[in-house]
């Protein structure tokens, strides 16, 4: 399943770090962060609940960049 989420982040490198962090999260097949449009497109692995996965994604993103947010 693919979903798109609105994100808030201030610097481009932080967006890249978020992308890397999201990709390492369990249940995420692939994640692409678009800094210019402030969007995160996430493809989930089968059998995972997007909401739960996104909570983990957000936690992991906060670790690499404190000043960020994902709306879901």
């Amino acid at each position: 399943m693919k979903k798109s989420y609105k994100i808030y982040v201030d610097c481009a490198n932080c967006a890249n770090k978020m992308e890397a962090a999201a990709n390492k999260t369990r249940g995420v097949k692939s994640a692409v962060v678009n800094f210019m449009t402030l969007k995160m497109n996430v493809e989930f692995e089968d059998g995972f609940e997007p909401k739960e996965v996104m909570q983990e994604v957000k936690k992991n993103c906060k670790k690499v960049e404190d000043d960020c947010d994902i709306l879901f």
Binding site: C11, N13, N16, V32, N34, F35, M36, T37, D66
Partner: protein
């Protein structure tokens, strides 16, 4: 400006003002340290907090942490030696100025580009069962409803005009400035602006399926498909910071130890200072921001011109185009058949056309349509009776008492009329009156008037090979190719042959870097569009299959836009390369100068922020593509 930007701007101003004041006040000793800490904390408190969080989360290469170490280190050195705190605070100040500028510039270009594509309708005037109009969200309009569009309003949903006529401004969609005239029965697409009259439209799609939604979706997601340049920078940034930080550590430790071993002064302060300079340059921000910003601006600028590019990666590939392959019908030609030549025998041109048009009066064949279109007064008071279709041959009818045969050479043979051959390419329609040959009319697909210019523009911008694929006969194809200046023609191809022909071209190129572009009108050529390195669909408004299969979509069917798209991609990639070289180059120079103690922290931070600002300004240039 956002709230955060305003707040940060105030912090920058207060802190700078304090620094200037402190510069003119003579304070010494511990009081001096305390006073100088005020502007430092005002400008840097958030960085310090983030640095602390970075430690907590074990992010050793967090930019805030590095910036905090650099400035605190510089303050410590100053405390230890002569008490000049200005440098450390200035580094923090300029770092924040850089961040602020970046945030402002990015926010501004986000806004600019979304304004460029300001085609999203806010409401629809739905006509309800009582015949009254009510303003509703376009999402709530069902297929088959009737909506009213006032002059000055955007058409919110695709549909057919059922009442009224008007002129539509399609600039936002196609970049074409000439208004389009529409009337009852015409299909209209969402996103156009109604200029002159009130029209009622029966919707044929839901809002989410309408052209405007599709386009917005496409443009907004375009920069998510990342280019090789972006991947490169992301990877580079990932190793750049650790490498610089490790070098900084080495720089602080190795030379002093070496100096101690060789028996001289270790000069710790000196080397630590140089190491801190390294940390100041360790942030890869200038690089990382300028590349996606350039692509974003390039894609935005292109969409303003009616060229939708589906991803940064396609923009990159397009810039390497060397071969352009065209589909003929609908791409280089109009795809509609018109009378191209009239060759009468015995009677004059006008009466030949007159007869042919009359005989074809009741036929619905495309050729009949073009004959009738060519003779404007077809519905005059001539008597046309006993029209009879002779399958596979043509039509026979009585026109004012004369038996007129209109059809191919087979028909002429069957009635024994001596027909003459024609050298013109196209479909030949022979006419015989009472069994006597009267001449023929040539009907062919008409070349778009701009096709020739489009090809020569492509050649001018470095396309080395132009190819045409067509299902048409050799004669017709070669004639068209010659007229527009195409190098190679492959005629008489079935749709499947076109795919293998494209594969042959792709396999036959000298290097991977010479990209092959295919341009089609999206009808029947979706497989070819997806097989080519870049598939360009033109005039694809409303054709879902084409929008799906192509990498680049031209909103109108003007082939000149192909050269334009290539030029835009080249300009964008030039800017990207400039930024990569410039930003990496300046950083490397600063690192070298810093290692030898030639560049101090001032220079380092100026270089860092300066490079970022210049790279961003350069990136925004990609937006200006009108005069390419």
């Amino acid at each position: 400006m956002s709230k955060k930007q305003k707040k940060n701007l105030v912090r920058i101003i207060i802190s700078s003002a304090l620094m200037i004041v402190l510069h003119f006040i003579e304070i010494n000793g511990f009081a001096r340290f305390v006073f100088y800490m005020i502007p430092y904390l005002i400008i840097g408190y958030d960085i310090l907090i983030k640095a602390f969080k970075g430690i907590k989360n074990r992010q050793a290469f967090d930019e805030s942490l590095l910036m905090a170490i650099a400035t605190i280190g510089a303050i410590a050195l100053a405390l230890y030696s002569k008490g000049d705190y200005t440098e450390a605070i200035a580094v923090m100040l300029f770092y924040q100025i850089g961040e602020w500028f970046q945030s402002y510039a990015v926010g501004k270009s986000r806004k600019n580009i979304s304004e460029l594509m300001d085609i999203r309708p806010d409401y629809a005037n739905l006509i309800n069962n009582n015949g009254q109009t009510e303003k509703v969200s376009p999402d709530d309009v069902e297929v088959g409803s009737v909506i009213l569009v006032q002059p000055g309003e955007k058409i919110p949903i695709d549909g057919v005009i059922v009442e009224g006529k008007s002129n539509l401004n399609t600039t936002a969609l196609t970049g074409e400035s000439l208004p389009k005239e529409v009337t009852i029965g015409d299909d209209v697409i969402s996103g156009c602006v109604n200029i002159s009259g009130v029209i009622k439209i029966k919707t044929s799609k839901e809002f989410s399926e309408s052209t405007v939604s599709k386009i917005l979706d496409l443009v907004e997601n375009a920069s998510s498909r990342k280019s090789k340049s972006e991947d490169f920078i992301t990877k580079f940034a990932r190793i750049y910071t650790p490498v610089v930080v490790l070098s900084a550590v080495m720089l602080a430790m190795v030379p002093p130890v070496f100096l101690i071993l060789s028996g001289s002064e270790p000069l710790w302060g000196n080397w630590i200072y140089r190491a801190l300079t390294f940390l100041v340059i360790s942030c890869p921000c200038a690089l990382v921001i300028s590349i996606p910003l350039s692509f974003f601006a390039g894609i935005g600028g292109a969409s303003k011109e009616g060229i939708l590019i589906k991803g940064s990666n396609y923009l990159e590939t397009l810039s390497l185009a060397k071969t352009v392959v065209f589909d003929k019908t609908g791409t280089l030609t109009k795809g509609v058949f018109q009378v191209a030549a009239i060759h009468p025998e015995k009677i004059d041109e006008n009466s030949l056309l007159h007869l042919a048009a009359h005989v074809e009066r009741y036929s619905t064949h495309p050729i009949a349509n073009s004959l009738r279109d060519a003779y404007p007064n077809e519905a005059d008071d001539c008597k046309v009776t006993d029209a009879e279709e002779i399958a596979g041959c043509g039509i026979k009818a009585l026109v004012n008492g004369d038996t007129v045969y209109v059809g191919n050479s087979k028909l002429m043979d069957s009635i024994g009329a001596k027909w003459s051959n024609c050298s013109s390419a196209g479909t030949i329609i022979h006419v015989a009156v009472n069994g006597v040959y009267a001449g023929h009319i040539v009907i062919s697909d008409v070349i778009k008037p701009v096709s020739k210019k489009a090809i020569s523009m492509l050649k001018k911008c470095g396309i080395t090979k132009t190819v045409m694929l067509t299902g048409d006969s050799k004669d017709t194809a070669e004639k068209v190719a010659e007229d527009v200046g195409i190098d190679i023609v492959y005629p008489e191809l079935l749709p499947a042959d076109k795919v293998s022909e494209i594969e042959r071209i792709i396999n036959g190129r000298k290097s991977e870097k010479e990209k092959v572009v295919f341009v089609g009108d999206g009808i029947n050529d979706a497989p070819v569009l997806s097989r080519a390195d870049i598939g360009i669909a033109m005039g694809a408004m409303g054709s879902d299959a084409a929008i799906e299969a192509a990498d680049v979509v031209l909103m109108d069917d003007n082939p000149i836009k192909i050269a334009k798209a290539i030029k835009i991609s080249r300009k964008c990639l030039r800017i990207v390369h400039q930024n990569i070289c410039f930003a990496i180059g300046i950083k490397v120079i600063c690192l070298i100068l810093g290692a030898f103690g030639i560049a101090n922290m001032w220079l380092a931070i100026f270089a860092d922020v300066g490079v970022m600002i210049l790279a961003i300004l350069n990136a925004v240039r990609a937006l200006f593509v009108k005069n390419l």
